[in-house]
């Protein structure tokens, strides 16, 4: 299937929804694609039960009212610049190869969680913190489950609130950082329900579970699934029998598409100017890939990117102040949740670091580069392509990310083999070897 549009927004989270709405309202033929079953991204993805925050409802309604086409269940696996301000995007829609032509791109691919290995982290029922939230939204039942939440960042409190509301019995919410005040403040900033933020601000316990600073999970134990976790709470080590562990150490921006296009990076995030324009002409970027700063920032950046992609950058002026103010909050977040050294030493030499290929920490040599680690042990060679072990090994070994190659997500052979356009010019050379050997 081949389609074309003026502005293609990749990612339907808050940034993508804002970008698509503004671009479509400005008159551009706009399309937004997202892997999920419906738009919303990580925080606005509709819950099967319960309702959305009002900002989410407003923006989803605004998107629906706009002329933008929404294409859910669509995974972008490759993209390339075919001519200046002309892009060919290869996607898979429920497994069907799809080619989309576009004049401008808005990359709004969000973030994933950072995981750091510890003994037992590969056991079933050890989830990401955002991972548990995503599973809950997609229908996983946590009622009656004994849950431990341990990690860092502003995600802990809102996820604790959602799980608790869903009937889970929280045993402890362990935050490795010691900066309790900042944690609570940031949680409020991150759309934690106001009551929860309030609760957290005024006392140390909520939902019957302690919210405990200077605390982290040391190891998880079990057989065919998780049975218990060993948690360090302050100076004490406790063993807690439980059904689920939610763990994660902040967010890692999804910058693969930008890197595939050769966009200039600034450290681990995509470099953008005041119009959210990347170094590649016609490519804009908004939300987490430009720096993890939360949902309000994503909305503001998305609007700027959408307007600029539609050729109406001048209309974006009032939004720019919000963008820069929010970016400062993002940097504050990083400082508040800096990892304590103990977290880096949890993995033992027989702890698996690359889950796809079962590579253990002890197989890796500190003297190697990431590429050597990969070639010699297969670490990062599996189907997640280093999305999980890459950020972990960056923390543990100081290895920097490997190059990005298409497909950015596993894709069927026929998705990559379908001709990019009709009358594929290279077709003729396809059979230049008919003569018998």
């Amino acid at each position: 299937m081949t389609q074309s549009c003026d502005v293609l927004v990749i990612g339907g989270g808050p940034a993508g929804i804002a970008a698509a709405s503004r671009a479509a309202e400005a008159g551009a033929r706009t399309m937004v694609v997202d892997e999920g079953a419906s738009p919303g991204g990580q925080i606005w993805r509709p819950k099967l039960t319960g309702h959305q925050p009002s900002v989410a409802r407003q923006w989803l309604a605004r998107l629906a009212a706009s002329e933008a086409t929404v294409s859910p269940r669509t995974t972008v696996v490759d993209l390339q610049v075919s001519a200046p301000r002309s892009f060919i995007v290869r996607a898979e829609r429920s497994g069907i190869p799809t080619i989309i032509g576009a004049r401008a791109l808005v990359l709004a691919t969000g973030a994933r969680e950072r995981f750091l290995p510890f003994p037992g982290w590969t056991l079933p029922n050890v989830f990401g913190i955002g991972g548990a939230q995503a599973l809950l939204k997609s229908g996983t039942r946590f009622d009656g489950k004994r849950v431990v939440i341990a990690g860092t960042g502003p995600l802990l409190l809102p996820v604790a609130a959602s799980l608790s509301a869903a009937g889970a019995k929280l045993l402890v919410v362990a935050e490795q950082s010691s900066r309790a005040r900042v944690a609570r403040f940031a949680a409020g900033l991150w759309n934690a329900p106001a009551t929860l933020a309030q609760a957290a601000r005024y006392r140390a316990g909520f939902f019957g579970a302690p919210y405990s600073m200077n605390s982290w999970v040391v190891r998880a134990e079990g057989d065919d699934r998780l049975r218990r976790v060993v948690v360090r709470v302050g100076t004490e080590t406790r063993t807690l029998e439980c059904d689920a562990l939610c763990t994660g150490y902040g967010l890692v921006p999804n910058t693969e598409l930008a890197r595939l296009l050769g966009c200039v990076m600034r450290g681990s995030v995509v470099f953008v100017d005041a119009d959210q324009s990347t170094s590649t002409d016609g490519v804009y970027c908004a939300g987490e890939p430009t720096g993890v700063a939360g949902v309000d920032s994503a909305i503001a950046e998305g609007q700027v990117a959408g307007l600029a992609a539609a050729g109406r950058a001048s209309d974006a002026a009032p939004l720019r102040r919000v963008v820069s103010r929010r970016a400062a909050h993002g940097r504050g977040l990083d400082r508040a949740f800096a990892l304590r050294p103990e977290i880096h030493t949890l993995a033992a030499s027989d702890t698996i670091v690359c889950r796809c290929e079962d590579v253990r920490l002890g197989q890796l040599d500190r003297g190697w580069s990431a590429r050597q680690g990969k070639l010699y042990t297969r670490a990062g060679m599996g189907p997640c392509q280093g999305r999980i072990c890459g950020p972990a090994l960056e923390c543990l070994m100081g290895w920097s990310a490997d190059s990005v190659r298409p497909p950015v997500f596993p894709a069927r052979v026929r998705t990559l083999s379908s001709p990019a356009k009709t009358g594929d010019s290279a077709e003729t050379s396809e059979r230049n070897h008919d003569a018998p050997a």
């Binding site: 490759d78 390339q80 060919i88 190697w368 580069s369 590429r371 050597q372 070639l375 010699y376 060679m381 599996g382 189907p383 392509q385 190659r405 298409p406 497909p407 596993p410 894709a411 069927r412 052979v413 026929r414 990559l416 083999s417 379908s418 001709p419 990019a420 594929d424 010019s425 290279a426 077709e427 050379s429 396809e430 230049n432 070897h433 008919d434 003569a435 018998p436 050997a437």
Partner: protein, 375 residues
């Protein structure tokens, strides 16, 4: 079984060719130092397919690759799990009766070179590889061909070299080859024997070597154990590999020990442009799907490109380089260097120590390019 102490030898390049040379020299008593500007298996060796194959593009190529096949069988017991050795054999697939007719002749050519093979008719081929499309004419099954994981085999060869006293230095770039020596950025090494095994970069150190990078694309799938059982190559492959001017693709699919399917292959002459050419990739995959329609549904997890060190006459450059005292060349192996690394190393060491080589070494002498360019 290290022999008497011999002279010093420096091997430039820790790809599979350099590693094989280092292992052979060290076993023969040389004091070997391997220098690599990056690290072992940083170059073409890390991007190749790892098919150990007797290839009959020319009698000289067949002689070198058939010899190599025997040496890989001899080495097999010494390889470790990292090498992922798989005795899967090759099926040269004939699309139609005309190609199938050529299979008989190919079998005889192989037999004369001491390579065992069997003819499979259409039924037998379908039984051997149920995922091939129906209607193919048959195949030649070369039973002794194998598949390895090239970086793993390279590490193993370097371990063998080290066990025989060799040193391996990563991050040491050769800047200039001197008479009986090599100048690196910080240090100059002296040795009676210097081997240029810098793969596609060999000509930067030895100007005059006619080596050009010939780009190839590969794609690898998730794990589908048993989907493909042998290395499958279309009979048209040799033509595709032989024609130097065009870009070409051929059906060339490999079962990995991991259950993954490695899909090749393409050839282009585009200098050092490493980015993925989506049109070529798509053509290559379509060619593979034309032979194995079910392949279309498998999930690809990564694609990449690599540069074969190619020579105009499609034969590697193995032997002395008279212009520089002590210098020997081991490069230009194009798409066959994983296979012929072992025979290259043996030919070279036999000539260095003055032993009679197992096969005629003269067709591979780099001197042939001198005479060719002088003419």
């Amino acid at each position: 079984m290290t022999s008497a102490r011999r002279a010093d030898a420096i091997v430039i390049g820790a790809g599979i060719v350099g590693a094989a040379c280092a292992a052979a020299l060290a076993r023969d008593g040389f004091q070997v130092t391997v220098l690599d500007r990056a690290f072992p298996s940083a170059g073409t060796t890390s991007v190749g397919m790892g098919h150990i194959v007797a290839m009959d593009d020319s009698p000289e190529q067949l002689a070198l690759s058939a010899y190599a096949q025997r040496l890989w069988h001899d080495l097999a017991p010494e390889l470790d799990p990292r090498s992922e050795l798989d005795h899967c054999g090759t099926l040269w697939v004939a699309e139609d009766d005309a190609q199938f007719a050529a299979v008989r002749a190919k079998r005889d050519v192989y037999a004369a070179a001491g390579i065992a093979s069997e003819i499979l008719d259409a039924r037998a081929l379908a039984d051997a590889e149920p995922n091939l499309r129906p209607g193919l004419a048959g195949a030649l099954y070369v039973t002794g061909d194998m598949v390895v994981y090239p970086p793993g085999a390279t590490l193993r060869l370097l371990d063998i070299a080290r066990a025989n006293g060799a040193r391996v230095r990563s991050g040491e770039e050769a800047v200039e080859i001197l008479p009986n020596g090599v100048r690196c950025v910080h240090e100059t090494y002296h040795a009676e024997v210097v081997i240029n095994a810098a793969g596609p970069l060999a000509a930067r150190l030895t100007p005059g070597l006619p080596i050009v990078p010939r780009k190839g694309h590969l794609a690898i799938t998730d794990r589908y154990l048993g989907f493909v059982r042998h290395q499958l190559v279309e009979l048209g492959y040799l033509t595709s590999a032989h024609v130097m001017t065009n870009e070409s693709v051929a059906f060339n699919v490999q079962p990995r020990a991991t259950g993954q399917v490695l899909i090749g292959s393409s050839r282009e002459l585009v200098e050092w442009e490493a980015s993925l050419n989506r049109d070529i990739l798509a053509q290559m995959l379509r060619r593979a799907e034309a032979f194995m329609p079910a392949l279309g549904e498998l999930s690809v997890i990564r694609t990449w490109t690599g540069f074969r060190p190619a020579t105009p006459d499609k034969l590697p450059l193995i032997g002395p380089w008279d212009a520089v005292p002590g210098l020997w060349i081991a490069s230009g192996h194009e798409g066959l260097g994983i296979t012929t690394s072992l025979s290259t190393a043996r030919l070279l060491v036999d000539q260095i120590v003055g032993r009679a080589p197992a096969i005629d070494p003269t067709p591979y002498w780099p001197a042939r390019v001198h005479s060719a360019s002088a003419a």
